[in-house]
Amino acid sequence: MALKGLDIFKLTPKTNCKDCGNPTCMAFAMKVAQGAVSIDKCPHMSADALAKLSEATEPPMKTISIGEHKLGGETVMLRHEKTLVNKNLFSLYVCADMADADIDAKIAEAVKVDYERISERMYVETIFVNVEETQTADRGIAVAKKAAATGRDLILRCTKPELAKEIAAAVPVKVLVGANASNYEALNAVATEKGLVLGVSGKDLGELHDTIEKLEAAGNKNLIIYLGGTSIKEAFAAAVQIRRAALKDEDRTFGYPAIVNLERLAPGDDNLQASLASLFTLRYGSILVMGRMTYADALPLYGLRQNIFTDPQKPMKVEPGIYPINGAGENAVCAVTVDFALTYFVVSGEMERSGVPVNLLISDAGGYSVLTSWAAGKFSAGSIAKFIEEQQIESKIKSRTLILPGKVAVLKGEVEAKLPGWNIVVGPNEAIQLVRFLKDYK
């Protein structure tokens, strides 16, 4: 939160010496508050005042880096208020207490999920390795090595400092989870020595807040909050209250991203874990730890995340033009659709799967879906005809067959009237039906 002019004024020397180019310290403070000038234009600010100012102008929520990923850094509670900036990550849960075969199978299953959706790689970015205090360092290291072998970023959960230290020395860990009211000093030493993000938990929010204050006082602000072994209701309440405290009540102690361990909240219940992952994607979970990651989980969850973390001010568009699919040449049929990135992604994907060469014509429809742009008057017989003319399709492509999206079948007559000589064919409603349709058509 920005400081008010008066608060800044109180920190100035109040001598009105004009060295900053302003008539008074008050005038200077007002400009700083508006962001019009920077505080260093006054050469007489005390070190103490500068420190207070930099603390007060810190962003409400810190941005924490894990490998090449960034977490936190949010400034609003909801995406429509501005935008959400750093998407949440997913993590696969493994525990050193589990049998080796189970760990191997889980990891193998999860790393198979790796695909692209609208220019974004979808995969489990991190692996969460739980090592209980009763485990040996050798066992912890062996399991952490299995996880590290995937190349994904490693989160180690271990509350015993000596054990954590030995594992972190042998395996490249990125996050060390396990600090609490009783062990934070020793675990902090392990994390800071290795440059790891430190995960902190507490038996309740009061104790958590306390421990974070102590860690910050000790100089560590490379932290993440860990919401594990509580109930679903408590974990949800905590995630919301922590984010609310940071962004609404300017409580910077809680200005950290949160890890939510869904395997702990709903052990073994894959369906419930996926539902909770959806809830925490919308409401303030920054790393979601799941007991499994299959395509069934990933397809809806990564799609949802991709939607929620788009900037509301920027429609996801592709450039209008001719997109030859499967090596389509001038004799391949044409199909028309809109410039909404999602529509393009879905439709082009299915066309590729069909193996049939098609010239996909993307017309300018304002970045909207087929029905939305049709309802808004941006995808019509007129706009399609205009597109064909402007792009000089008739001179570039010899085929005179044009496939319309099934959802705008009503346009057929009008398009025929506007494009004499063309054979207008109504395609299926859903892109998934295109494979059969195109194969049969050919």
């Binding site: 009061g206 799609g303 892109a431």
Partner: protein, 314 residues
């Protein structure tokens, strides 16, 4: 500084709307906190989960658990009975797919008979959804509303194009509940509620259907619209947006590729049924988190999961 959580309650609340009658009647809405924030205030009414059946039955190819669940249920009434017994169900939604003039075009009389049988077969509230054809739905809703008088049935939906006829018959003449359906847009939603109440339908008889999209398919608009509706209802006390929201999730999720692609065509994706259920539950959970007071789902496993999640948050 020690931390004390500040509960955030509002002076405004979501309207309470009752569906059905008797011991199993369901009250939607009532809360004066943001969606699912029951740690801010004890919940008045839990969000409700409905199960959808159609008059024509589902094609359960590739969905062995769904087929097994409805095994032996040959009529809509028998399917409704099974549906109502599924774990976590609060109400049954009967969708008249067969009424579509572009499809089976079943007569109004046939549909009315089905509705009566279904109503008699269940003790949970009934929600009736149409075939999306404006003319047919208006006629269908009116006829079904007439025979269900006194049962507090909700009809999905009255739209900009037909709210006058649907509102007048379903809401005014037969005293049922009216779903107000608009296209993922806060202004359109509000406008429809305004004209519907001007028509004389009481605000307490209206449930909003703001539309939906499957996770990954433009869901950001759904989430942001619901977020804004709840902010207007609670923070700004906008009485024309305080109607509880019901989101028909199943129709959206069971038509996307992730849910309908056969396992044989995409072996690496695994079980089709599991994919369909996840798509349905993930979308439903996101709708509830953003502001739906109730969701309509198709698969009994989805109903069970979402009901369990709601119970865990109360």
């Amino acid at each position: 500084m020690p931390f004390t959580a500040k509960p955030r309650t509002f002076n405004a609340a979501i309207n309470e709307t009752v569906l059905g009658t008797g011991a199993k009647a369901v009250t939607l809405g009532g809360q004066n906190v943001l969606p699912l924030y029951f740690f801010d205030n004890t919940p008045k009414n839990a969000p409700a989960v409905g199960i959808e059946i159609t008059d024509t039955g589902y094609d359960a190819t590739g969905l062995p658990a769904l087929a097994a669940f409805y095994d032996g249920a040959a009529t809509p009434a028998e399917r409704a009975k099974k549906a109502a017994s599924a774990e976590g169900v609060s109400f049954v939604c009967l969708r008249f797919e067969g009424a579509d003039p572009g499809g089976l075009n079943k007569s109004i009389a046939d549909c009315v008979a089905v509705a009566k049988d279904v109503l008699n077969a269940i003790d949970v509230p009934l929600v009736v959804a149409g075939c999306k054809n404006i003319e047919k739905d208006a006629e269908l809703f009116s006829a079904v509303a007439e025979v269900c008088q006194g049962k507090n049935v909700l009809f999905l939906s009255a739209r900009e194009e037909d709210y006058k006829t649907v509102g007048a018959s379903v809401g005014l003449a037969y005293g049922q509940k009216v779903g107000a359906e608009s296209a993922v847009d806060i202004n359109l939603a509000k406008q429809l509620n305004v004209v519907m109440t001007q028509l004389g339908v009481s605000a307490q008889s209206i449930v909003m259907n703001l539309g939906a999209a499957a996770a990954g398919y433009g869901f950001e608009y759904v989430a942001s619209t619901l977020d804004r509706v709840k902010a207007a209802a609670l923070e700004q006390n906008d009485t024309m947006l305080q109607m509880p929201v019901m989101t028909p999730v199943s129709v959206e999720t069971w038509s996307v590729k992730e849910a309908i692609m056969a396992e044989a065509d995409m072996p690496e994706w695994g079980s089709q049924e599991e994919r369909g259920i996840r798509m349905e539950t993930v979308t439903a959970s996101a709708c509830l988190a953003s502001g739906a007071e109730s969701v309509i789902l198709r698969h009994p496993a989805s109903v069970k999961t979402i009901a369990a999640m709601i119970a865990a948050l109360l």
